[in-house]
Symmetry: C2
Subunit: 344 residues, 2 copies
C-alpha cells in the first residue's frame, strides 16, 4: 500500500489557554503535557514506522521560527502560508505538493493523544481505506455530551477497517448532544483525516472549484527554498477561508470513518488540559514551585513565582510572566473573552 505522509497543520492561535498560550507563542509550541510540545508530540506519533514518510508541515509566517526550532525530522517539508485561510486551503497546498497516490494523514498540531498505539492502529486502518479511495475521518469515542465538537454518525461497515459516514453534524446544543450519547453511533470529529492526495483534490475540485484552482495557482507560482515552500501570496490571498469539513467532508459521497479510542483531547481550554494531565489522588496537578494545602481538583502552573494555595477546590491557577489567571473549572470556558486574552 501507499506511503502515509503526515500533514501537520500548525495554523491558528486561539485564546482559550491564555496566558500560557500567547499570540507570539501559541499552544502547539508549548510543552503542556510532558516534556514535548504538542507539535513535537504530533510529529513523534507519526514516526518510527516504515509506513510513515517525513511529514509536511503547513504553517504561517508568524509561526515559522517555532516550527523550525521544533522540527523533529530534518527531512520534513514546510509549507509557509502567506496568511491563514483555514484547513481546506492548507490541505490543498499539501496535496498539490504530493504524488496523487500518496495517502495524507492530516493532523492538527495542538491535540493530545494519550494512547499512541491506538492512534497508530487507527491511522493504518484509515490509510487502508484512503488507499481504496475513501476520505476518512477519525471518530473519537464520545465520552460526554460535548457541545464544542462536531459529531460523526457512523454508517454501514466497510470491511473490518471502518465504516461509511452516515452524516456529519455540526456542533450540537446540549440536548442534541445528550441524545447522540444516549443513541450511540455518534463520534466526535477530532479533525484528523486520511485520504489520498489525488482523491482529495478531485473532491475539492468538484465541491469547491474556486479553492482548488486558487491553491493550484498558488503552488504553481510558488517558490521552494530548501525544505520550505512559499505559495504565491497573491494567488493564495484569493482563496476562500473554509474548513475541510465544510468544503469537502460534508459533501463527498466517499466519506468514511475509523474508530479511534486513543485518549484524545483537543485541550480546548484549561479544564480540558487538567483532565488530560496525570493528577494525584486528590485530583491536583501542578508544575513549578507549588505548595497545596487542603486542595482538591486544583491545577497550578507557574513559569517562575512560587504558588501557595489553601483550601481550594475545582480551581485553575496559571502564572505566566506579567499575567496571573485564576478560574474555576467551570469558568475555564470564558478565558478567551478576558481582556488579556482578547487584546494580545
Amino acid at each position: 500500500m501507499s506511503t502515509i505522509v503526515p500533514v501537520i497543520l500548525c495554523g491558528g492561535s486561539g485564546t482559550r489557554l491564555w496566558p500560557r498560550s500567547r499570540a507570539s507563542k501559541p499552544k502547539p509550541f508549548l510543552p503542556l503535557i510532558g516534556e514535548q510540545t504538542l507539535f513535537e508530540a504530533t510529529q513523534t506519533r507519526c514516526m518510527g514506522r516504515d509506513d510513515f514518510a517525513p511529514p509536511v508541515v503547513v504553517t504561517g509566517r508568524q509561526h515559522l521560527t517555532h516550527v523550525e526550532e521544533q522540527l523533529v525530522d530534518a527531512a520534513a517539508q514546510v509549507i509557509v502560508e502567506p496568511q491563514a485561510r483555514n484547513t481546506a486551503a492548507a490541505i490543498a497546498l499539501a496535496a498539490l505538493r504530493l504524488p496523487a497516490d500518496a495517502v495524507m494523514l492530516v493532523c492538527p498540531s495542538d491535540h493530545h493523544i494519550g494512547n499512541c498505539a491506538a492512534f497508530t492502529v487507527a491511522a493504518l486502518g484509515a490509510a487502508a481505506l484512503a488507499h481504496d479511495g475513501w476520505l476518512v475521518a477519525f471518530g473519537i469515542q464520545a465520552a460526554a455530551p460535548e457541545t464544542g465538537f462536531g459529531y460523526i454518525r457512523q454508517g454501514e461497515p466497510l470491511g473490518d477497517a471502518g465504516f461509511k459516514v452516515s452524516r456529519f453534524v455540526e456542533k450540537p446544543d446540549l440536548a442534541t448532544a445528550q441524545v447522540f450519547l444516549a443513541e450511540g453511533g455518534y463520534h466526535w470529529n477530532g479533525g484528523i483525516f486520511a485520504f489520498s492526495a489525488g482523491v482529495f483534490l478531485t473532491e475539492l475540485e468538484k465541491y469547491r472549484p474556486q479553492i482548488a484552482a486558487a491553491a493550484r495557482e498558488a503552488v504553481e507560482r510558488g517558490t521552494a527554498e530548501g525544505n520550505r515552500f512559499h505559495p504565491d501570496a497573491e494567488a493564495f490571498a484569493g482563496i476562500e477561508s473554509e474548513s475541510v469539513d465544510y468544503a469537502v467532508m460534508e459533501n463527498t459521497t466517499r466519506a468514511a470513518m475509523v474508530h479511534a479510542d486513543m485518549a484524545w483531547s483537543d485541550i480546548g481550554n484549561w479544564q480540558a488540559l487538567h483532565a488530560a494531565l496525570d493528577c494525584d489522588e486528590a485530583g491536583n496537578a501542578h508544575d513549578g514551585r507549588v505548595e497545596l494545602v487542603d486542595c482538591t481538583n486544583v491545577l497550578v502552573t507557574s513559569d517562575g513565582p512560587r504558588v501557595s494555595v489553601i483550601g481550594a477546590s475545582d480551581l485553575i491557577i496559571v502564572v505566566d510572566g506579567d499575567e496571573v489567571l485564576v478560574t474555576t473549572t467551570d469558568g475555564a470556558q470564558k478565558v478567551g473573552k478576558l481582556h488579556g486574552a482578547v487584546n494580545q
Copy 2:
C-alpha cells in the same frame, strides 16, 4: 489635665499576611488600607489636637529604617530596642523616658481603626481615667465569638468615662466565646491602653520587679542620639519577655476600661483585611490591574502582574514579587504555616 503621649509599639513581624508582609517589611509599614501605611495612620490618629504630644515610637533595630522613613511628626522620639522583649518591656522603656504625670496612650502600630472620631473620644475618656490613677484598656465591642482575642469583662461604672475591669480573660475557645457574646458585658481586648507613666511603673515594680529594674538600668545606661534613644543592650537583654496584659493589667487592682466602638480591626489575617476594606456590591475588593468575571467576595491584590479571575467565590489572591498566594477565606488562618511564610 495631663498631656497625652502616644506610645506606638512597632515591634513584631508576623506571618499571617505573607507574602505581602515580609520579615524585611512587615505589616505596620504597608499601605494595606488606603494611602497611608498602618504605622502612618496610627500616628495620624494621635495628632491634630492640643491634647496629643508628639509620639514615642518603640521599635527594633531591624525596623528603624522603615520607622524613620514613615515618621509623620519630626518631633517624635524613637526608642530602639536592641532586641524584642514583648510589650511590658517596651512600655517600661517609654514610661522611664517620660515625666511621671504624662498620660501614655499605648497603641499597636499594625491595627486599623475605621472611625477615628470614636477613637479620639475613647482616648480622651481613657486619659481622664488614667489621670485619676487608673490603668485603662480599650474594650472593643465584640461583634463575633472570636477566639483569637483576649476578652475584658466589664465591671462597675467609673462615672461617665468608663468602667472598672471585672476580669481579663485569655483567648477563649469557641464555646466560651459564644457564651461571652450571648451574656454581654465582654469586650475584645484591643491592646490599646492608657495610664500615667508613674502609675504604670509603680504597678510594674509591684508585680514584675525584675522587668522594672532591668528596664530602669537599660534606660539609665542608654544613649541618646538626636531623637533616637538606645537603651543599654546588656541590661535590656536581661529583661523577661512578657506582655503588658500578663505582667500588669491582669494583676493590678486599678484596671479600668473604656468602650471603643471604632470599627477596629487587628487585620490579623487576609480574611480580616478583606472585611476591613471597602468592597463593591458583590463583596469584591482589589487593587492593581485586575479583571473579575462572575466573582463574589473575592480579594485581589497584586504588586505588578495583572490578575484575571473567573467564577471565584470567597477567595483571596495575593501577588507579591516571586510569590503568589491563593486561599479560600476560611483557609486564611493557615497562611502563617505555609513554607513561604515560615522560611522567610
